[in-house]
């Protein structure tokens, strides 16, 4: 199974006479189940736009996004539904990825119902509970009736992951999924993601500006700048022998604990 963007571009037309913006230019990218692919870039690099194109939330202006060679744009309704189940999203939480008026049980349960993963009230609840336990929300029963504001940041992120994996996806597109979390919580969520990859064989397209995290978890890295993928390669290539000057800049900019104690100079 292969999720592939080929020469995918996205141009946003500016309103009323302004110049249009090329958010993504000729992006080529491949992701497979079990892979951990990262897209790194700073704000405005077009990485989130690319993520939305991969998820089929916005159409490509030119080029294509395809699953096993079938272009997303030309998919039939049933193919699209299958695509949704195969490629799932985990988005950044602080932007409000959970409806504040729905309980955890409903948030996950409604997806179960929509895709007919389970039928009947009890079966749905059971499926939801199983999934919550899978993402480490134990005991699940105590979380079913909670609202998002009654959860911690890490727990909210886990609910989002539960909602995605309950469909049994092969690839998860995660857009800044851990960026706003504290280090410990971030480590916990990454642990979970890695765990799911091992147990379920899920692949990730991991979009972030956080280089250390990429170094920690990714296998293959795309570096984006101003809408273009300026460099790609295995993690080792990117981190040990970066070719593009921008990648070098990015690498040297990331602060690390080991780098310095005490004021510089």
């Amino acid at each position: 199974m292969l999720l592939e963007a080929s020469n995918a571009s996205k141009t946003f037309r500016a309103r009323r006479g302004g110049t249009s913006v090329d958010a993504v230019v000729n992006a080529n990218l491949q992701a497979r189940p079990g892979d951990f692919v990262a897209i790194v870039g700073e704000s405005g690099s077009g990485k989130s736009t690319l993520a939305r194109m991969l998820l089929g939330l916005i159409p490509a202006t030119s080029g294509s996004v395809a699953l096993d060679g079938t272009d997303l744009a030309s998919m039939s309704k049933t193919q699209r539904i299958r695509y949704r189940r195969t490629v799932q999203a985990v988005l950044q939480d602080p932007a409000g990825s959970l409806n504040p008026r729905k309980t955890v049980g409903r948030i996950v349960g409604e997806v179960v119902r929509l895709h007919n993963i389970a039928r009947g009230r009890d079966a749905v609840v059971d499926t939801v509970a199983e999934t919550l336990e899978l993402v480490g929300m134990v005991p699940a029963a105590s979380f079913l009736g909670r609202f998002p504001h009654e959860l911690s940041g890490g727990q909210r992120q886990r609910v989002l992951i539960a909602r995605a994996i309950v469909l049994g996806p092969r690839i998860i597109v995660a857009d800044e999924a851990v960026s706003a979390l504290d280090a410990s919580v971030k480590a916990g969520v990454l642990q979970l993601m890695d765990d799911l990859r091992r147990r379920l064989g899920v692949g990730y397209v991991f979009i972030t500006h956080d280089l250390p995290v990429v170094k920690k978890v990714a296998e293959y890295v795309y570096v984006m700048k101003s809408g273009e993928i300026v460099e790609e390669g295995t993690k080792d290539q990117i981190f040990t022998a970066p070719e593009h000057p921008y990648t070098t800049t990015l690498l040297s900019a990331a602060p690390t604990l080991a780098a310095s104690y005490g004021p510089p100079e």
Binding site: L250, P255, L257, A258, G262
Partner: protein, 292 residues
């Protein structure tokens, strides 16, 4: 904290209650004691919700002015008690002694006032010279900005995020404060910009011989900038000491766990580590007991 003479800033048993609803409130800071000497650079690290931002704001006198915000304990500048001090006394401290750099460069500048005027306003009345422009331009360049003459005539929306953050630094140093409180000054910026802004902050503080309190969730940022460090957890300072010592030989189990999880994210060959909830609960209980 073993020093001769009065420290520039001495905070003792600070406790802050903030309203969360029309009848509910939360104890955002439970027990914080810290001291900053002249010329010293101090870091406060902690996770979100640890109370570090509220502590910084309390020190700069910038908590909401609602009567339902309760501050207890002691905050002294050069021995002068500020908890319970009248607004005028705080105005004076804010206009000369303490400056603050905020997190979000976008919203902390007045959108309808020119940059130059916003900086000029921050120069204390006694020090304002008739040729106001000179001072303004001086502080703008000190904050690492270029083309300052033209820049002073611009409005905030015409500037990039990094430039705005530098303007905020210029505003904070324009009073040539004894103490600068920087609350997550680079969190909203891209890594490449963050590094440049931190360098600017570092150079400016050195140039003016200003003390610094740098507040951040990012230990790496604090580690590179400070002499001493305070680690906060759930409204308490759980550990403090020289930055290098605390980071190399953390004593409190929370600091140890926090450093372990940070290292697990940034260093190769260390397994990802997340602080277990059970540990958190036990520390919270312990700190509660210790404070009371």
């Amino acid at each position: 904290m073993t020093t001769t003479g009065t420290p520039l800033l001495q905070v003792e048993n600070l406790r802050v209650h903030l309203p969360t609803g029309s009848r509910t409130e939360v104890e955002a800071v439970s027990s914080v004691s810290l001291a900053v000497r002249r010329g010293e650079r101090v870091g406060i690290v902690g996770e979100s919700g640890s109370g570090k931002t509220v502590t910084g704001r309390a020190i700069a006198g910038l908590l909401p002015t609602s009567p339902r915000v309760r501050v207890q304990g002691s905050i002294r500048f050069d021995g002068r008690e500020m908890v319970g001090a009248p607004p005028k006394a705080w105005d004076q401290v804010r206009s000369r002694t303490v400056g603050m750099v905020f997190q979000d460069p976008l919203t902390y500048l007045n959108p309808v006032m020119k940059i130059g005027r916003q900086v000029h306003e921050a120069i204390p009345p006694g020090r304002q010279r008739s040729g106001e422009n000179g001072d303004v331009l001086h502080f703008l360049s000190l904050a690492g900005l270029e083309n300052v003459r033209e820049l002073a005539q611009r409005f905030p929306h015409e500037l990039s995020g990094g430039m705005r953050q530098r303007v905020l630094i210029a505003i904070a140093i324009a009073k040539m404060p004894d103490l600068l409180v920087a609350d997550e000054p680079t969190t909203a910026l891209d890594a490449t910009v963050q590094q440049r802004v931190l360098t600017t902050l570092d150079e400016t503080v050195a140039e003016l011989d200003t003390s610094l309190i740098l507040i951040s969730h990012d230990i790496a940022v604090v580690a590179g900038m400070t002499d001493r460090i305070y680690v906060m957890y759930a409204g308490h300072v759980v550990e403090s000491g020289r930055t290098r010592e605390v980071l190399e030989k953390p004593e409190h189990p929370y600091t140890q766990a926090l450093l372990r999880s940070v290292r697990s994210l940034t260093e190769d060959g260390v397994e990802l580590y997340s602080i277990p909830e059970s540990l958190r609960a036990s520390w919270a209980r312990k700190e509660e007991a210790r404070a009371s």
